[in-house]
């Protein structure tokens, strides 16, 4: 069995990636908590914003180190892409929570519970993949999670379609519809970006196969 360490060892990229993967999971858990226990919204959104900042800083560190470390150009591009797609997922998780707060949503629509649960699952799967990337592991330990994330994204798509259909059918207040169109849109982008993270991971690994 071929085993590789995919991350450059010169700088502690692993630690930084472990950190942003953890923050990503935390953010999804926070969103799930927000929609299931819909109280202290201001505080919860604040926590999410802090996580977003944490990841921004770590992502910047990664990019800075990439510029000064010896890394082949190919790897550099992949690592940068991986970091920035994770950052995107987090941004959209935060954006959807903050829209609920700003728009004075009284009770999240029920599909947000399923969606945020799937986001938790997706981010945990991403975390597994990232941690395999940082240590000597065989390729399947990373490719497995990538495939799983794609499956989760498809499930999210179906729920989102169902959610939009129900919104248009049952909601009678046009402004409520407009608010939720926007919130669901953000949630959809968050799940799409999880797939981008998986693709970025896959790109790193496949080249060494």
């Amino acid at each position: 069995m071929k085993r590789f360490r995919f991350m450059p060892t010169e700088e502690n990229f692993f630690e930084l990636f472990d950190e942003i993967a953890q923050a990503l999971v935390d953010a999804a858990v926070c969103l799930h908590d927000l929609v299931t226990n819909y109280q202290d919204i201001g505080h919860k959104c604040h926590v999410l914003r802090d996580m977003e900042k944490r990841v921004d800083i770590a992502t910047n560190h990664i990019c800075q180190r990439l510029n000064v470390s010896f890394v082949t150009p190919l790897d550099r591009e992949d690592i940068r892409l991986l970091a920035s797609t994770i950052d995107d997922v987090l941004d959209y998780i935060e954006a959807s929570a903050d829209r609920m707060r700003l728009y004075g949503v009284e009770k999240p629509r029920e599909e947000t519970v399923e969606l945020s649960a799937l986001l938790v699952e997706a981010t945990k799967t991403i975390q597994t993949g990232i941690s395999a990337l940082s240590h000597y592991r065989d390729i399947d330990c990373i490719l497995g999670p990538c495939i799983a994330v794609n499956d989760i994204e498809h499930k999210c798509d179906e729920i989102l379609r169902k959610a939009l259909k129900r919104l248009m059918k049952e909601e009678t207040k046009p402004l409520e519809i407009a608010k939720w169109q926007e919130i669901f849109d953000r949630l959809e982008i968050a799940t799409d970006r999880c797939e981008d993270v998986a693709n970025a991971l896959e790109s790193i690994v496949v080249k060494h196969a």
Partner: protein, 207 residues
């Protein structure tokens, strides 16, 4: 001598296939606007086309990852494949929303926007086809300029269309449904411009 994309013939073939599927998707959307009774059937076919195109993208990425290609070219190839994919995704989303929202008939603006889109995707097929022929950089550039012009026209049309929606005081929910659909079509046009930009940059770099 120009070399736009790595020598493997199959990259060209894959891009051409991707562009053809994209054009097919845009034409399905046009057909939906013209034969609205067949919305569900056509939307299903469009979904199938989108799936087929997904396979092509994966093939490109796989090939890219396992082939030795210069990093610069790699980045361009990746960007081109995913931008082409984004266009078809937005087109599919537009038709899917029409099904989900049980739209009864197309609006004049939707037809107009789709016409512009079909023009742009056809130009894209031509431009991508020209990548293979090393002396056709002028053709690529012309197509890109034309795509940019169409995108501008799409922008104005979309803006006017949304303004018109906001006058539908009596049917606010219909207006919100259509706004989403128009925006999907406009996103498709925006992504056409992204493709044009990538193609132009590639041509310039290799001139």
């Amino acid at each position: 001598m120009l070399r736009l994309v790595p020598r493997q013939e199959s990259f060209f073939e894959l891009f051409e296939k991707q562009a053809r599927l994209l054009d097919e998707g845009a034409k399905y959307l046009m057909q939906i606007m013209e034969e609205f009774d067949h919305l569900e059937d056509l939307a299903f076919r469009l979904k199938v086309t989108e799936h087929d195109a997904d396979e092509v993208v994966h093939e490109i990425i796989r090939k890219l990852n396992t082939t030795f290609v210069m990093p610069l070219d790699r980045k361009d190839i990746h960007a081109l494949a995913s931008a082409l994919d984004d266009i078809l995704e937005a087109i599919e989303a537009a038709s899917d929303r029409m099904v989900l929202y049980e739209i009864q008939e197309p609006t004049e603006s939707a037809v107009k926007l789709t016409r512009i889109l079909v023009e742009a995707t056809w130009l894209m097929v031509e431009a991508v086809g020209s990548l293979r022929n090393l002396r056709q950089t002028e053709a690529i550039r012309e197509a890109c300029v034309a795509i940019n012009r169409l995108e501008n026209r799409g922008d104005q049309t979309n803006r006017a269309a949304i303004a018109k929606l906001f006058q539908m005081d009596d049917k606010p929910i219909e207006a919100l449904k259509w706004r989403e659909i128009y925006n999907n079509i406009e996103t498709a046009l925006d992504k056409c411009e992204d493709v044009a930009d990538i193609l132009e940059a590639t041509v310039l770099k290799n001139a």
